[in-house]
């Protein structure tokens, strides 16, 4: 999150410069250090801004307390995954190196689905995104497009998941990456939701969840995930506030297996700026959270209130 935070701070510091940078453009030269608003999209959820700063184009949810980048794209190297948490999400490939069916909750700028679609052109990828405006912006400004193997479903993830369960859909890999401008929606953090999601996994299927490790909620979320999945990889990297949970329907692979798979995947992932060989050492199995904390359920999920506790 440090990276995310830094970018956020920079953007927060420069809104007035946007106007100046526009002036520069009209004079015929641009400076990469200045934030420029490219596009504003109205949404029934929260308005979306597309900004460019330091040669990066970012999708930003505008909230009063400051803007939050959801996705950034490097304009000179659009394939590169800019944020550490996006790169960390791909650590899931160490448990499931050849996923055939993938479900991604939360589109953002679409960097994860696009990367997976390129790496695994035969895999079928379903993306669930609640906000039609985000889908529109991702297509227009972030090189995202649908194809035979990559489909976006505009729906609430909870509704999609329940319906998919009834329809008997199953996935080898599920990525939970639904964020509002604040955090994960409360009804997508509960034990019941995780159980519904787990029911969509194939036998060896895996679940990857992008979360933060920077608040009291960390403990509640960890307790909830371990109640549903037992043990999981608790993946944190230095200098980020992100924590990626990687859990499996099967027993977790050994470090040796992780390392040998990382070696094999390494070359393919270099294109995206992912140095997967450093990941296994940070994928911990030990419990570093307060196991006494209450799990989150549909009956008890004051998630965002718990977040402000610490």
């Amino acid at each position: 999150m440090r990276d995310r935070m830094l970018c956020w701070t920079l953007l927060g510091a420069f809104p007035r410069l946007a106007f100046i940078s526009l002036a520069f453009i009209s004079l015929g030269f641009t400076s990469s250090a200045q934030a420029e608003d490219i596009h504003k999209e109205k949404s029934i959820y929260r308005n979306i801004l597309v900004k460019e700063v330091y040669g990066r184009r970012c999708l930003v949810f505008t909230v009063k307390r400051g803007d939050r980048n959801q996705t950034c794209m490097d304009l000179n190297d659009p394939k590169k995954l800019v944020f550490p948490y996006v790169r960390m999400t791909l650590a899931g490939l160490l448990l499931s190196p050849e996923p055939k069916r993938i479900l991604i909750i939360g589109l953002g700028g679409g960097s994860i689905p696009v990367a997976l679609n390129e790496m695994y052109p035969d895999a079928f990828i379903d993306v669930v995104e609640i906000d039609e405006a985000v889908i529109k912006v991702a297509k227009r400004f972030f090189n995202f497009s649908e194809n035979e193997h990559l489909k976006v479903h505009p729906a609430d993830a909870r509704v999609y998941t329940k319906r998919a369960g009834l329809q008997g859909k199953r996935y080898d890999m599920i990525i939970l990456d639904a964020f509002t401008g604040d955090y994960i929606p409360e009804h997508l953090m509960t034990k019941e939701y995780l159980e519904e999601t787990k029911a969509l996994l194939t036998g060896p299927g895996i679940l990857i969840a992008n979360t933060f490790s920077t608040s009291d909620l960390y403990h509640h979320e960890s307790v909830t995930y371990s109640e549903v999945f037992g043990s999981f990889f608790n993946f944190k990297m230095p200098n980020t506030g992100n924590r990626v949970i990687i859990s499996s329907n099967e027993a977790l692979p050994s470090d040796f297996v992780l390392r040998s798979r990382a070696k094999k995947l390494s070359a393919r992932l270099q294109n995206y700026g992912v140095d997967i060989e450093v990941f296994p050492q940070f994928m911990r199995r030990d419990i570093d959270w307060d196991t006494e904390k209450r799990s989150l359920t549909d009956q008890y999920s004051p998630a965002n209130l718990l977040r402000s506790d610490s």
Binding site: I44, R158, E186, S301, P302, L305
Partner: protein, 210 residues
């Protein structure tokens, strides 16, 4: 307690009960968002469904409560509204999930799904809670010239109750308790309020000038 001194408690009692019903209406409405989210999400249309059903139920409740106040208004009958609302909340607690399962299976569109589910979950209890407001006016009004003041005072306390119910539920109650624990407490409070009114009706009667 002499009848006269007891009679002085009549107005504060009705106002307190009206405050309680205002509190509970909004508390239940807010919990509605939580109850529906697992099935229909937490999008703006889910709140649209909930608010629509609450407004519709209250409208019908006001109409019905007003009509009922024409027929021998008493604190005892008033108390039965509270008991009725408490009992009407029980199916929401016990059968809410089964009902939402059934609606979810039959309606693909989460907008209409959440609207129909809100109808089943909240319509009857909210109609009954809505009946309380006009009935309270009838119990307290003694003459035409003060009717506006009395009605204003009642709207004041019951809407204040609603404001507090909204705040308490969203800021604290969901942080401390489970949804069903809060609902059971509401049922208990409504039953208690009803019993107080029914018991009180032995000593207290609305003033009859007309």
């Amino acid at each position: 307690m002499s009848h006269h001194s007891a009679q002085r408690l009549f107005s504060p009692l009705v106002l307190t009960l009206a405050f309680t019903s205002g509190f509970i209406i909004m508390s239940v409405e807010l919990l509605g968002g939580r109850i529906l989210a697992p099935y229909f999400g937490s999008s703006i249309y889910v709140w649209g469904s909930i608010i629509t059903i609450f407004m519709l139920s209250l409208a019908i409740g006001y109409l019905t409560g007003g009509r009922l106040s024409m027929n021998q208004p008493s604190l005892k009958r008033y108390g039965f509204f509270y008991i009725g609302a408490a009992l009407a909340l029980l199916p929401t607690i016990f059968f809410g999930e089964n009902m939402m399962d059934a609606v979810f299976l039959r309606l693909e569109d989460p907008r209409y799904g959440s609207l129909v589910a809100s109808m089943f979950l909240f319509f009857i209890p909210t109609v009954i809670l809505g009946m309380i407001a006009p009935y309270s006016v009838r119990l307290l009004v003694e003459s035409a010239h003060e009717s506006g003041r009395i009605a204003g005072g009642l709207y004041f306390v019951s809407t204040l109750g609603s404001a507090l119910g909204t705040l308490a539920t969203s800021f604290y109650l969901v942080l401390w308790f489970e949804v069903n624990q809060i609902l059971f407490t509401m049922v208990g409070v409504l039953l208690f309020a009803g019993l107080v009114a029914i018991f009180g009706s032995r000593y207290l009667t609305p003033s009859q000038k007309d």
